[in-house]
């Protein structure tokens, strides 16, 4: 098995076995979506209008809150030192870890989104749009969150700081994700334009995320 495949397998095994990473994320997502109607009232028309926004906020928080241990666990038990002692580029290691993290925690959110949409009275086309935007957008959330996780890796309680640092940077992803979802159901607003911009942002994060995370991890490791 190649080194990166082995790393991917290990990351998936760990997130499945430790504290049920995927399940916790989806559960958190479910709770956020459940709490919203209590705050805004059970008016189904209002909920349908807010639906994409609620789902995106839930996915955003569920993704970021699960990220603080992404590198910290490896830093604490010394694995990070050993991961550095190879000629595999650290950027690649970061990318594989983020991919595994997304498969284990982000993808379940995407898969849960259609079901949760039903609670929010979304019409079928809206459900498809929200799921599509989440599929494209959540990897970007994981990648930018990875930078925060790497920056706060040496801090014992970095979770809160991670959210403070990273949430402002996720605003574009949120805006275009929700805009595209709403655009799919509301007539004059477009779906494709914000959706393509969202794709572009995700691709940009694919570059920024690994480079910045690797730089931050090297700094922390010194």
């Amino acid at each position: 098995m190649s080194a990166m495949a082995a790393l991917f397998k290990r990351e998936i095994q760990l997130s499945v076995r430790v504290g049920g990473g995927a399940l916790m994320g989806v559960l958190f997502f479910l709770i956020v979506v459940t709490v919203f109607p209590f705050a805004v009232g059970p008016d189904l028309n209002l909920l349908a209008r807010l639906g994409p926004a609620i789902l995106w906020i839930g996915a955003l928080l569920a993704t970021l809150l699960g990220l603080d241990r992404l590198y910290q666990a490896d830093q604490e038990d010394g694995s990070l030192d050993l991961l550095l002692l190879t000629d595999h580029p650290l950027e690649m290691v970061v990318l594989i870890k983020c991919t595994a993290q997304w498969v284990a925690t982000g993808l379940p959110l995407v898969l849960a989104a259609p079901l949760l949409s039903l609670f929010l009275n979304l019409e079928p086309i809206g459900i498809a749009a929200v799921t599509a935007t989440l599929l494209v957008g959540t990897p970007a959330l994981t990648l930018i969150g990875s930078v925060g996780a790497a920056l706060t890796v040496i801090l014992r309680r970095g979770g809160l700081l991670l959210s403070i640092l990273i949430l402002p940077l996720t605003i574009p992803i949120l805006i275009f994700g929700v805009s595209a979802s709403i655009g799919a159901v509301t007539d004059p607003a477009p779906f494709t334009t914000p959706f393509y911009i969202l794709c572009a942002i995700s691709l940009l994060m694919l570059i920024i995320g690994p480079i910045a995370s690797a730089a931050a991890l090297r700094t922390a490791q010194e």
């Binding site: 930018i144 930078v147 920056l151 706060t152 040496i154 801090l155 700081l161 403070i164 640092l165 949430l167 402002p168 940077l169 605003i171 574009p172 805006i175 275009f176 805009s179 607003a189 914000p194 911009i197 942002i201 940009l204 920024i208 910045a212 730089a215 931050a216 700094t219 922390a220 010194e222």
Partner: protein
């Protein structure tokens, strides 16, 4: 960085903190003088040259504080980004000090532009806050500044803190234009009716000139305060170094006695 050739003065000589400190001390009175003079001219023009707006009355003069603050809020971030490149690429010891010192200044100017914007907006919009694209972008910038400052404060080792903050500053520098773009998009989506915007080409010279003078005054003040904060930071780090040396000397004299 230990420049031995002292024949010609180059910008790189300032890499040496000692030399930077003496340079800053020499520059300080000049900067102080320049800011006092430009502020005097600028404020005079603001109150007596610039006309009242036919709709807004004297309220429009908030602009002479608001606009320079907003410019400096963005200028400070640009400066931090350049300093961050200095920290990461050239490992320049002063680059980190410069970035760290600019952060609180940037945050203060961002805050100032938000407060003045809000004061200006109250009579216009009838409310203290609207989710207008400019204000919202500034609010996000303020949050980013505050996040950077907290990152600096939470990591103990100043060098690690400097590098981590430099990385985040640069990531922010790439993403902030996207945030600005997305907020503009979002704003037009929700508020098709244009709010008050300052159309550059239509600004009359009786407004433009005081504005530029005030911007110059703010810039001098910014440079002066930035140098002062940098100086404090250098001195603070020296004290830290001296403390550590004292501790080490005590430790080595103890083991020296034993051996």
């Amino acid at each position: 960085m230990t420049a031995t050739a002292k024949k010609s003065f180059s910008i790189w000589d300032l890499a040496n903190p000692t030399r930077f400190l003496s340079f800053a001390d020499k520059l300080m009175p000049w900067l102080l003088g320049l800011s006092v003079i430009t502020f005097a001219i600028g404020l005079y023009m603001t109150f007596f040259v610039a006309p009242d707006d036919y709709q807004q009355g004297a309220t429009v003069k908030i602009m002479f504080i608001h606009v320079p603050s907003a410019w400096l809020a963005m200028g400070a971030y640009t400066m931090m980004a350049m300093s961050s490149i200095g920290t990461l690429v050239w490992k320049h010891p002063l680059a980190d000090v410069s970035a760290k010192s600019a952060a609180p200044l940037g945050a203060v100017f961002t805050f100032l532009s938000l407060v003045t914007g809000s004061l200006w907006g109250k009579p216009m919009w009838g409310t203290w806050w609207v989710w207008d694209a400019r204000l919202t972008s500034m609010l996000v910038l303020l949050i980013i500044y505050l996040g950077l400052i907290s990152l600096w404060r939470t990591i103990d080792d100043p060098i690690k803190a400097g590098k981590a903050s430099a990385i985040l500053t640069l990531v922010g520098f790439v993403i902030i234009p996207i945030i600005k773009f997305s907020v503009d998009w979002w704003s037009t989506l929700h508020q098709p009716a244009g709010v008050i915007t300052l159309d550059g080409s239509k600004v009359h010279s009786t407004i433009l000139i005081p504005l530029l003078v005030m911007a110059l005054a703010f810039t001098f003040m910014f440079i002066m305060m930035h140098m002062k904060i940098m100086k404090n930071e250098i001195l603070r780090r020296r004290i830290r170094t001296m403390h550590m040396q004292a501790a080490r000397r005590a430790a080595s004299s103890q083991t020296g006695n034993k051996q």
